[in-house]
Symmetry: C2
Subunit: 199 residues, 2 copies
């Protein structure tokens, strides 16, 4: 291997090349909200709509991250912070690869969400606040976690035993209590459409 040959013949495929290949830009849609707010349902719905438009997207959520990459982390404040940081860094790699990431994490702390915004770059980060009230989430309690939090079996539970800091300047806010899932996704799609165009 001759190092002159290397520099002459091999160049690196850039983010801009990958975007041209995929015919759309890449960015992160970050869903934040209480446990049970509907984040994963909406994330999967957005993912399906993007797929139908032949957009290359992927969902990151507790299901595929907590048992794998972040399987070494617990639920202490420091570990929750590290959980979100790693997801931010992984999202950045996907954006570099030309993929639209839909990330669904409670991410209760403003500082952590802002940190992810910085990691990815503010113009590639869309904060989507799934603004379902904690009362409604507790009423649904699909996973029985609110009951466990009330009983003290689950510690540090946002809305019960620790705070959820509402976003102050989310790019998109949806309220799931007065419209269907499909209506909510329709609205989100109109909001992100312009972000998909290569400028």
């Amino acid at each position: 291997m001759n190092s002159n040959n290397i520099t002459k013949q091999v160049f690196t495929i850039q983010k801009s090349d990958r975007r041209r290949q995929k015919k759309h830009t890449s960015f992160v849609i970050w869903l934040t909200g209480y446990s049970g707010a509907g984040k994963s349902t909406l994330a999967n719905g957005i993912d399906r709509r993007l797929f139908e438009k032949n957009i290359h997207s992927y969902v990151l959520d507790g299901d595929n991250v907590r048992h794998g990459l972040n399987g070494d982390l617990q639920f202490s404040d420091a570990d929750r912070k590290e959980n979100i940081r790693r997801v931010g860094e992984v999202s950045k790699l996907f954006v570099d690869a030309g993929i639209v990431i839909i990330a669904a994490f409670i991410s209760p702390f403003r500082e952590d969400r802002d940190e992810v915004r910085k990691i990815i770059s503010p113009d590639r980060f869309i904060e989507l606040f799934v603004d379902t009230s904690v009362q409604e989430c507790e009423r649904r309690d699909t996973k029985g976690l609110y009951q466990k939090a009330r009983n003290g079996e689950v510690k540090n539970f946002p809305g019960i035993s620790t705070e959820f800091e509402r976003p102050l300047n989310a790019e998109i806010t949806v309220n799931t209590e007065n419209q269907t899932v499909e209506e909510t996704i329709d609205y989100i799609m109109t909001q992100i459409e312009s972000h998909l165009e290569i400028k």
Copy 2:
């Protein structure tokens, strides 16, 4: 939001859907070898060739991982192990997203590489041994790291102060000393071609 509506209307896009969208399967090509063996050069060359065939690929290497996701890790044995584990888990997410990952890491320990093989699934993991001798790598010493390792300024350096465990059953082995980069990439491409087909 009605939970009956959710299950009826929203289903999750699967790995098989993403592969159909991209018209090829996804897997990991894992380049292992001494520092200076030519891993990054080959990784970028493979990436370019795949891009030209309209295959959706991405390179993971020290450049985009060590300062971001693994910026909290040092070079102790435990941290090197964790470095490789996280790259394995991130590769798994990319494979799930339908992307061909080309990972270039010294990864000197057999156990760590085997762990990644398990994380990803053995039939989706192609170990590519860049078998440039440590003598040749030290002769090139493009980054000056061998000199620093000899001087004791860099600790735990594979081939100098710590072992590099040669792969025993790598799917592909290339020797870069007697052929050009492009010839080497030609050979690699013939070896991975059949892996790209959707079966």
